[in-house]
């Protein structure tokens, strides 16, 4: 799966889709592949403040658990209600139906600090070896 070009990416393998001052956040295809079959997703409740680069939840597979970091600062607006019963959506469709949460951004300008699809692909290639 290739990484969609309309998204921005972090070094800890999260993605964010920004529309105005709202963002949708998830984990990348690389991340879901490394983790294996996802069994549980822990996400913060709506209203929780998020700080860029800080842990906001976790994603658990049978063999590993990984923290998910907020790509940008803001507040949680909505959590994906499907993930409680269908955590496998993160494996099947990490950039679409497997979105984790939607947030209101406090500093949309900080988007410039994240990687675009090409830079992220390069980064993943380095990190895998």
């Amino acid at each position: 799966m290739s990484n969609p070009s309309d998204l921005k990416y972090t070094q800890t393998h999260e993605w964010i889709r920004v529309e105005g001052n709202k963002g949708t956040v998830g984990i990348t295809d690389f991340a879901q592949h490394e983790l294996g079959d996802i069994v549980f997703v822990e996400a913060p409740a709506p209203g929780t403040p998020l700080s860029a680069g800080s842990p906001m939840g976790s994603v658990e597979s049978v063999k590993a658990v990984s923290e998910v970091n907020a790509p940008l600062s803001g507040t949680v607006a909505e959590v994906n209600p499907e993930l409680a019963d269908h955590p496998e959506l993160l494996n099947q469709d990490p950039y679409g139906k497997g979105w984790i949460l939607k947030m209101t951004l406090s500093d949309p300008g900080a988007l410039g600090g994240l990687m675009d699809a090409a830079a992220y692909e390069k980064y993943v290639a380095e990190v895998s070896h």
């Binding site: 549980f40 658990e60 597979s61 049978v62 063999k63 590993a64 658990v65």
Partner: protein, 448 residues
């Protein structure tokens, strides 16, 4: 040597295949600076018949409950375990097996764990259980840690009437991770002082821990304790059970507002064993399942669609999360857990209840007999199979007098509770006869 399946010829063949001249060369990677130059200061080998005699001699230099009716409780209760329990534990497929990490080879162990978890959840009125913890003391500490993980507050309140050793283990575990432990006093009735508890509560309290029955054998009103807790930033209520048999007679803590039930399940088929190995347990609600420490077994299916069992939710554990684990526990009390499962299966729902009523009856009889001799309970609240009385004599005198009368006397409370001078903790289980109770009443009644 009979445990080394290795003749001299075998050794020669092994050495040759390993490409090594002599056994000493196998250790060439150990620098000579640290090599031992003399033999170990451990005495020479003892042949089996003599070894057995040595241990028999050590065992008879103890005066155990075999020789004398035991009125000691204090966290370890003398119950009878049916012969079938130990006979099944001696099956080497159980005791010489390892932790069931390869489930296809361990369905015996895993199914037994699943049965244990089901029984403990049922007995405590909760949704889920783990596969065991070390003992009641460490279970108390784990409950506090779990409450902190869920609630995030840094204050832990523990009843002063909870087992003194459990409280000390709790402090030892919590000391270095920035949590404080404060005691809730008990009232004149022997129960947790609800007024004092109210005064101690604030938004930083993550856990309230109380014994049920408490160290004095007193039955707490768990519902009343739960009702005192605020709805906002509600601390988790942890009920600690050190006499598991009481679960057959008392309303399950899970139905009275407890969030975590933990403690000691040793009463279910395990020997007193001079303190160990025992059987810690912990149960909780579904919503807190992922915060449970220790191993957990879950139901699943295999490649042919048949029901089977596996260790699950393992990402909480040390071998995956490492320093972020819910606990550092690895090896727990597997065989002890099996003993409890077998015991509960043999005794059954009716038998367990009958046994609990017998225990209650013996203790009430002893209370009554003591009353006739002018020895009164210290506390007015109801008790199960253990209760505290007030004696005029100094602590050890009571035990010595009991021993001289052929009994194992109670526990001197002033050791841990200086405010209870003359306090003596007595336990009467189904194993003490009416005659022994009469004798104990005579002994304690006769003390001046």
């Amino acid at each position: 040597m009979r445990y080394f399946p290795c003749s001299d010829e075998d050794v020669r063949a092994l050495l040759a295949a390993a490409g090594v001249k002599g056994v000493g060369d196998l250790f060439a990677s150990i620098p000579s600076e640290v090599r031992l130059k003399e033999p170990l200061a451990v005495p020479p080998a003892v042949p089996e018949p003599e070894l057995r005699e040595r241990f028999v001699s050590r065992s008879i230099r103890n005066s155990s409950a075999t020789c004398r009716p035991c009125f000691l409780g204090a966290g370890a209760y003398d119950h009878y375990a049916p012969a079938a329990v130990d006979q099944l534990l001696l099956r080497s497929e159980f005791y010489t097996a390892y932790t069931p990490y390869q489930p296809e080879l361990a369905q015996g162990t895993l199914q037994a764990i699943f049965e244990f978890q089901t029984m403990m959840a049922d007995l405590t009125g909760m949704d889920v259980s783990n596969a065991s913890l070390y003992d009641g003391g460490s279970a108390t500490a784990e409950a506090a840690l779990m409450a902190h993980r869920i609630h995030k507050g840094r204050r832990v309140l523990v009843a002063r009437s909870l087992h003194p050793a459990y409280r000390e283990v709790l402090r030892t575990y919590l000391r270095h991770i920035g949590l404080t432990v404060e005691e809730i006093p008990f009232g004149p009735d022997g129960r947790l002082d609800l007024g004092a508890l109210k005064g101690l509560l604030d938004a930083e309290v993550c856990a309230v821990l109380a014994g049920q029955p408490n160290f004095f054998g007193v039955v707490e009103d768990v519902r009343a304790v739960a009702s005192v807790l605020p709805q906002e930033r509600r601390p988790l209520l942890g009920v600690v059970v050190s006499e598991a048999l009481s679960l057959a007679l008392l309303e399950p803590p899970g139905r009275q507002g407890a969030d975590i039930v933990c403690g000691e399940a040793r009463s279910f088929g395990l020997p007193l064993g001079y303190g160990g190995p025992y059987l810690g347990f912990m149960t909780t609600r579904t919503q807190h399942m992922r915060q449970l420490p220790g191993r957990i077994c879950g139901q699943t299916v295999d490649a042919d669609g048949r029901r089977g069992f596996v260790l699950t939710l393992t990402t909480r554990e040390q071998h995956i999360r490492r320093e972020k684990a819910t606990s550092n526990i690895c090896t727990n009390e597997g065989l002890c857990m099996l003993a409890a499962t077998i015991y509960l299966s043999l005794v059954g729902r009716k038998g367990l209840r009958e046994l609990a009523i017998q225990n209650l009856s013996k203790a009430e009889y002893l209370k009554a007999k003591l009353g006739e001799k002018g020895v009164r309970p210290l506390f007015s609240a109801p008790t199960f199979n253990e209760f505290a009385v007030g004696l005029r004599a100094e602590g050890p005198k009571a035990s010595e007098a009991a021993y001289a009368a052929g009994l194992l006397g109670g526990y001197d409370l002033s050791r841990d509770y200086p405010e209870l001078a003359g306090g003596h903790l007595l336990c009467a289980t189904e194993r003490v006869s009416k005659a022994a109770c009469d004798r104990m009443a005579d002994v304690l009644g006769g003390l001046s």
